[in-house]
């Protein structure tokens, strides 16, 4: 049976730090965070730190494309991100061999409060997918993955499987979530938000920072359309802790199982991009799981201090940061980390490090006890 290999053809990131992958990565490489404390009246009654996409810039860009009236803010982010990732690529969304996968937790949930004149069915994730499919003239309605904070990594794993099995030639994965009062009030009720910018893996960490944004990765079985160096998806896997619905397992069971399957004996990985939400439990759990896998010496970081936790977009955006790390051979420091403070000792990246980076592991863990892991490798092709 044919097992095709899967490569990265293009990508895009939209966050508080910019509208392209380059802009975002330049900012984080310069130690700039997009998480800012403020009183965001529409989103929460009290001041809190968050990473928000510049709405006036978004509106200007949407007017240029004439998508400012017929698409919600959430859908506009998706359209801009997919267009950005496809720029200059010979991949056509309307082609029979191309699938779009949307990764999101809450989509247009802000419309429960105010639907801004859009029809009621826009609350459904499949409806957003339909609308996006129509915009890009796709043959199949985009597939929607909604599996909490691991949605993004799972969507990339799904894309890898579709290409590996030659079901689709190209898969466009877009992860997107918009911050809303719905989400912020929920996390506040858990007392899981940090008062300041979050501090992943730090001994004084006190919770997560929320963010919003979109990230798109174009995956393909066609090596000839990919930029160099080539980045390939080697393997992906998921596992459930079977322990608790809103907290991670203390033994890191699910993450341990998923990492072991993905590595399958591989020991020389150069870097781990962890979930690193900066809640006490999550970061401890990750340290235990990495330690059980013998990965403590591997440099590990969290990008959450730069753009917050972008929920359904996180796995996609952070994977793209991994691609940039491989392209530029630059490990980016963990913003907010100063003093170690996890159950097991980790090699947390605490300053930018120029180092040849060929193999990167991306992990994610989330509500429902879910974990997902994916391995990327760079080569000269």
């Amino acid at each position: 049976m044919i097992r095709r290999r899967t490569y990265i053809a293009g990508d895009n990131i939209i966050t508080s730090l910019g509208f392209t992958t380059g802009e975002n990565f330049r900012n984080i490489a310069c130690g700039i965070t997009g998480v800012k404390a403020g009183k965001y009246e529409d989103i929460y009654p009290e001041e809190f730190p968050a990473s928000l996409v510049d709405s006036s810039e978004l509106l200007l860009r949407s007017r240029e494309l004439n998508i400012d009236k017929d698409y919600t803010r959430f859908e506009q982010l998706i359209i801009h991100s997919i267009r950005g990732a496809l720029a200059n690529l010979p991949v056509t969304p309307s082609n029979l061999g191309t699938l779009i996968i949307l990764s999101t937790t809450k989509g247009n949930v802000s419309s429960l409060k105010n639907n801004k004149g859009f029809p009621d069915d826009r609350i459904h994730l499949w409806k957003s997918a339909q609308v996006i499919g129509q915009y890009f003239n796709t043959i199949f309605a985009p597939l929607v993955v909604s599996n909490a904070c691991v949605s993004g990594v799972l969507a990339l794993i799904a894309a890898h499987r579709f290409i590996e099995n030659d079901v689709f030639r190209n898969v466009i994965v877009c992860g997107c979530d918009e911050l809303s009062e719905f989400i912020v009030s929920g996390f506040q009720s858990f007392f899981s938000l940090s008062k300041d910018v979050c501090m992943p893996f730090d001994k004084d960490r006190s919770g997560l920072s929320l963010g919003e944004g979109a990230g798109t990765v174009v995956l393909t079985g066609d090596k000839s359309i990919c930029p160099h160096p080539l980045i390939e998806v080697i393997a992906g896997s998921g596992s459930n802790d079977a322990n608790h619905i809103s907290g991670p397992s203390r033994t890191g069971e699910g993450l341990y199982v998923a990492i072991n399957e993905v590595l399958n004996g591989i020991t020389d990985i150069d870097f781990i991009s962890a979930h690193g939400t900066a809640t006490a439990y999550n970061d401890d759990m990750e340290s235990v799981a990495f330690s059980r896998c013998g990965l403590n010496p591997i440099p590990v970081n969290s990008y959450k201090g730069y753009i917050g936790h972008t929920l359904g977009a996180a796995g996609v955006i952070e994977s793209i940061f991994c691609f940039e790390t491989m392209r530029k051979n630059l490990l980016v420091k963990t913003f907010g980390f100063e003093n170690p403070g996890t159950t097991e000792k980790l090699n947390v990246v605490d300053r930018n490090i120029a180092r040849v980076t060929n193999r990167v592991l991306k992990t994610a863990s989330g509500f429902g006890g879910s974990n997902a892991v994916i391995l990327f490798e760079k080569s000269d092709g």
């Binding site: 499949w126 599996n147 998921g238």
Partner: protein, 208 residues
């Protein structure tokens, strides 16, 4: 690899539970909450976590109990049983409840016990805990039951990963609609189940 078969299934519609071995009717209930509770009682009603769940998870839990009661799923390692689920309305019922709690800023009472259920894959967490399943989880959202996507993804998963078996299906709940259709898929022969096909899933889903 052997052929993949559907070795058991459970369909729950309003007032009805259908498995390969039985058809149960709960005719008097017009109220969904009462219906779910009666089915729970029929099963012996001993799993205390049931009462904490939202209705979507209750429905998934009940379907899984029927599905796994007659199934030797424990012969597989816990990390080798995957779950590939889908629905149309995500967690809308709990979403509306959470939204109600934050609608009035003078009377603001968001609760973690509600918020945690505002994700559709929480049902996968609940079932993982109940049945000690540590396999991969996937949750798709589609307008209607899409047996093709579930079929394709399950076959790829069983072909290209550690997983040896998979619970696939659909669990959807709103205040007007209620439907669960779960399938246990594993390698097997004619004697252990019917060939796993999208058509068979659709046929079972359509049982009335």
């Amino acid at each position: 690899m052997d052929n993949l078969v559907i070795s058991s299934y459970c369909l729950i519609r309003k007032g009805i539970v259908i498995t390969p071995d039985e058809r149960l009717e709960f005719p008097e209930n017009k109220n969904d909450g009462k219906f779910l509770k009666e089915v729970f009682k029929h099963l012996g009603g001993s799993y205390a976590k049931f009462y904490k769940m939202d209705r979507l998870c209750k429905l998934a839990y009940l379907a899984s109990e029927f599905l796994l009661a007659s199934n030797e799923y424990k012969k597989f390692r816990s990390e080798d049983v995957a779950m590939v689920f889908s629905n149309s309305n995500s967690s809308l019922d709990s979403d509306l409840k959470h939204q109600k709690s934050i609608a009035d800023r003078e009377f603001y009472f968001p609760e973690p016990a509600t918020f945690v259920y505002t994700l559709p894959n929480i049902m996968l967490g609940e079932l993982s805990i109940r049945h000690n399943l540590k396999g991969e989880n996937m949750f798709f959202i589609s307008e209607k039951f899409n047996s093709g996507v579930l079929y394709d993804f399950t076959v790829m998963l069983l072909r290209n990963s550690r997983h040896k078996a998979c619970i696939a299906g659909w669990v959807d709940y709103t205040n007007t609609e209620l439907l669960a259709a779960l399938f246990f898929i594993e390698p097997g022969k004619e004697t252990t189940g019917q060939d796993f096909t999208p058509k068979l899933m659709q046929k079972i889903y359509n049982f009335q």
